[in-house]
């Protein structure tokens, strides 16, 4: 019996929910204030944050209205001063057809007022910090913007620290983030388009681009993909990243990300498109080139000789971090002749007492390094200091002294680990390809390593971002196409924008360029 009743209750609730949902999508308001309020109460039943306050005018008792809002999202002072006070004490409120416009234009002292009849809009705005003004006798409401959110202050992003250059970083609040971009690009060509994602979260997002530079083909492709997103909630930009990815199973990124407004502005100027999401300090930029994995904002703020050198180091770092362990294994297991004899004898002596086979030893040590790295990132700062000691002394020195691992192995693993830290944007491919090459070179030596590398090369060459190849190897090595890839050309030579992204390539007017030279 109890079960039946439960089921019955569930059915009733389900029915009610579907009714409400239906009325939400299509529903409009009643003429009567009472009906409207009871309807709202029904929608927000069991929600104590939702508050309704009824108001009457002192001079015209027939005028009755009510405001509804969610506690914690609004600014109470403004509600008191600019909404309730004028509504109560204003002398010239008359009930007629133009009442709602009259209120909006003359009585309520707020900068942002919208009118609506649709219940869905009301629900969305009241849960986002707006105040809804219901007026008796009118089937329309006013949405009053009195948002006040607590947000983090602008700080330097932890994972994009730089020595020279702007340090401001994005925060979790969309309008602030947009203002950071707008402030740096003071032109009417900069466009912002609002979108929202998620059936439940209704997260606001904004697409920014510079009209006239952006390629419309990429823009329409982006909209096409964004429209396909059907998900209940979007909490971070990475949700979008993975939902609109080109090569879905590839470990590589096909969208860029950054926490710094100056980086976003730089990319917008090259013709890229940025996606800013409310609630996330990470901003996406598309399309994405493979070289962007190796670029940092600092590259453009420091001397070009130095940054070119560092960029080449990063590219080498990526290459080393995936191949060095595999290469070492291939030499030890298959091609000992490559080593000079004395060195080989040394290594062989070291290896004599080690219990594990080389491959297993390598995998274990690489995993240990990754554990240490992960622990170091997640640990509270107070305990964090003991980690390097444990890592270096216990696992490094003690393990070698106890003859559990060979000395050269520690060197190789540490070197690989440190080089992989150079390029944080490629951490996923590094992990996967490292293990893949490792296994191939244990079984097939240098031949296996080459086969694995060929696979990686072809996979990487095939990468696309919004239909545009991430690596452009046509064989025509012109200076202007190379200038921002493996090295960074000085600014007076960056005369053109990347040609794959934009048709409007001229970045420097010719006369100005001549003056600079």
């Amino acid at each position: 019996m109890a079960k039946d009743r439960k089921e019955q209750k569930k059915k009733i609730i389900d029915k009610k929910v579907s009714q409400i949902n239906n009325s939400l999508n299509k529903g409009t308001l009643f003429n009567n204030l009472k009906d409207n309020l009871s309807y709202m109460k029904e929608l927000f039943v069991d929600d104590d944050l939702f508050i309704i306050r009824e108001i009457e005018n002192n001079f015209n008792p027939s005028f009755r209205c009510a405001i509804a809002y969610c506690e914690g999202l609004i600014n109470p002072n403004i509600i008191n001063e600019s909404i309730i006070k004028p509504l109560m004490i204003s002398k010239n409120i008359k009930k007629d057809d133009t009442l709602i416009d009259h209120l909006a234009k003359r009585i309520i002292q707020l900068y942002n007022i919208k009118k609506t009849k649709i219940i869905k809009d009301i629900v969305e705005s009241v849960t986002y910090g707006d105040v809804i003004l219901f007026i008796d006798g009118i089937a329309e409401v006013l949405i009053l913007n009195v948002k006040k959110f607590e947000a983090r202050s602008l700080t330097e992003p932890e994972n994009e620290k730089i020595l020279i250059g702007p340090r401001e970083g994005f925060i979790e609040f969309l309008p602030t983030n947009l203002s950071l971009i707008r402030r740096r690009l003071r032109t009417n060509k900069l466009k912002f388009k609002y979108l929202s994602f998620g059936d439940k979260t209704n997260t606001q997002a904004c697409i920014c681009y510079i009209d006239g530079i952006v390629d419309n083909k990429i823009l329409t492709e982006l909209y096409k993909r964004l429209k396909k997103i059907k998900i209940d909630g979007v909490i971070d930009t990475n949700y979008i990243t993975e939902l609109i990815k080109d090569n879905r199973f590839s470990p590589y990124r096909t969208t860029g990300y950054t926490e710094k407004p100056d980086v976003v502005v730089g990319k917008l100027l090259e013709g890229r498109i940025a996606i800013v999401l409310d609630g996330s300090p990470i901003v996406l930029t598309i399309p994405y080139f493979f070289v962007e994995n190796f670029q940092t904002s600092e590259d453009y703020y420091m001397n070009f000789y130095y940054t070119s050198f560092v960029r080449i180091l990063r590219i080498l770092g990526y290459f080393f971090s995936i191949t060095v362990p595999a290469f070492y294994l291939a030499i030890i297991a298959f091609h000992q002749e490559l080593l000079p004899t004395p060195l080989f004898i040394n290594i062989a002596l070291e290896r004599q007492t080690v219990p594990l086979p080389t491959t297993l030893e390598m995998i274990v040590l690489l995993t240990v390094f990754d554990i240490l790295k992960e622990a170091g990132e997640r640990m509270p700062k107070g305990i964090g200091q003991s980690l390097p000691i444990v890592g270096a002394i216990v696992i490094g020195q003690a393990a070698v002294e106890a003859k559990l691992v060979a000395g050269p192995m520690i060197i190789i693993v540490t070197f690989t680990g440190i080089t992989s830290l150079l390029i944080p944007k490629l951490n996923a491919p590094i992990i996967i390809f490292q293990i893949m090459l490792l296994l191939l070179s244990t079984t097939l030596g240098l031949f296996g390593l080459t086969i694995g590398l060929s696979y990686i090369i072809i996979h990487t060459l095939n990468l696309k971002s919004f239909g545009i190849s991430q690596i452009n190897l046509t064989g025509e090595f012109k200076y202007q196409t190379l200038k921002d890839t493996i090295f960074r050309a000085p600014w007076w030579q960056m005369k053109k924008r990347p040609k794959q992204i934009t048709k409007n390539q001229i970045r420097m007017q010719q006369t100005e360029a001549k003056q600079n030279v």
Partner: protein, 362 residues
């Protein structure tokens, strides 16, 4: 769908890699001994008219694959016969090249590994590449060719100490006929194998000059081969070079830089594998395209895997040991003659006549 295409530089680098293919493993014909380099030059000169003919065929029918041309020129039956022959040649060459490499691998680097594993690894990459847009193969060419050239230059520089100029003398010790014969063999393997690029001509851009593509790849490849043959001759000398099956490998063994760098033949293998993959991939694509044409299948990419498996099977079964393989290589130029010279000649002549009479509407 956008038409797949390669830029002319991509095409050049791919063809160069194709010519390198198994040549940098096997080395060229070494029968003329210290005069091999003369044979190579003769081979290059002999291949010029041939290559010009191939380029002319592409020029006559720009943007079209050989498989489509044959049916229009020679009718349904004649065209199908030619298509079958070209498809067979592509698949067989692929298997031959694969076998060359696996034999090399067994003798030199992977002594205890069954050959089939080596073959499967290479075919896996070839199928993976073939399934992709042809542009990826072009990019691969641009990416890999410099690596191989740099490696050749490095070995060249490192081995300067081991050069013995006397290895080149006496010049023209053997009869002119023998040297000329060597030239013919070099023509057949590898230079005229570029006939297999013809079925890929629909991937070239119509605006690109086919002459430029063919001639410049021939020059780059020929020059590099000349350097390689000189290096091997200077290091090894006649007896060693003719004795060893894989002269480059043997030469790399001798190279050393002080105490630190020695026995770099393992690293040289990387070079071989990269060139090998390109050649097998091209044979695979040409084979798959031919099959698709014969069986009327729209997308040749669906046939990449079956043709790949076919190549492995053929490769495993055609020789029972390495000696048979080298025996076959000795008569390869006779076997390849109809595919490399007669078929293109027929297509060229008929094509020339028909286009002149305006009977073929392009």
């Amino acid at each position: 769908m956008r038409k797949e295409s390669m830029t002319s530089r991509q095409a050049i680098s791919v063809i160069v890699l194709f010519i390198f293919g198994s040549t940098i493993i096997l080395g060229l014909n070494t029968e003329p001994k210290q005069d091999s380099w003369i044979s190579l030059i003769i081979g290059i000169i002999l291949s010029l008219p041939l290559v010009l003919m191939y380029a002319r065929i592409i020029k006559l029918f720009p943007g079209e694959s050989l498989y489509n041309i044959t049916e229009r020129l020679l009718g349904k039956v004649g065209g199908t016969i030619i298509n079958i022959m070209i498809t067979w040649y592509a698949i067989h060459l692929g298997s031959l090249v694969l076998r060359n490499f696996s034999e090399y691998a067994e003798i030199s680097i992977l002594l205890h590994t069954p050959q089939i594993i080596v073959m499967i690894s290479i075919i896996f990459i070839a199928v993976y590449t073939a399934k992709m847009n042809i542009e990826i193969l072009g990019k691969w060419g641009i990416f890999v060719l410099p690596i191989i050239l740099i490696m050749v230059i490095i070995t060249l520089i490192l081995s300067i100490g081991d050069y013995n100029i006397n290895n080149l003398f006496p010049i023209m010790e053997h009869s002119f006929k023998k040297v000329f014969d060597g030239g013919f063999k070099i023509l057949a393997f590898p230079l005229a194998e570029t006939v297999l690029i013809l079925p890929l001509a629909d991937f070239f851009k119509k605006t690109d000059s086919s002459y430029k593509i063919y001639i410049s790849s021939l020059i780059i490849a020929g020059f590099t081969l000349l350097i390689i043959i000189f290096r091997n001759l200077l290091i090894l000398g006649t007896p060693l070079m003719t004795l060893s099956y894989f002269p480059t490998f043997t030469a790399a063994r001798i190279i050393e830089l002080g105490e630190f760098l020695s026995r770099i033949e393992g690293v040289i293998t990387i070079n071989f594998v990269l060139a090998e993959i390109t050649k097998v991939t091209i044979c695979l694509i040409v084979g798959a395209k031919g099959m698709a044409k014969l069986f009327n299948i729209k997308n040749y990419k669906n046939l990449a895997l079956p043709v790949g498996l076919l190549i492995i099977t053929l490769s495993l079964t055609q020789f029972s040991n390495v000696f048979q393989m080298f025996d076959f290589i000795k008569i390869y130029h006779i076997y390849a003659f109809p595919f490399q010279i007669i078929i293109p000649m027929i297509i060229w002549v008929v094509g020339e006549i028909k286009t002149k009479n305006n009977k073929v509407v392009t």
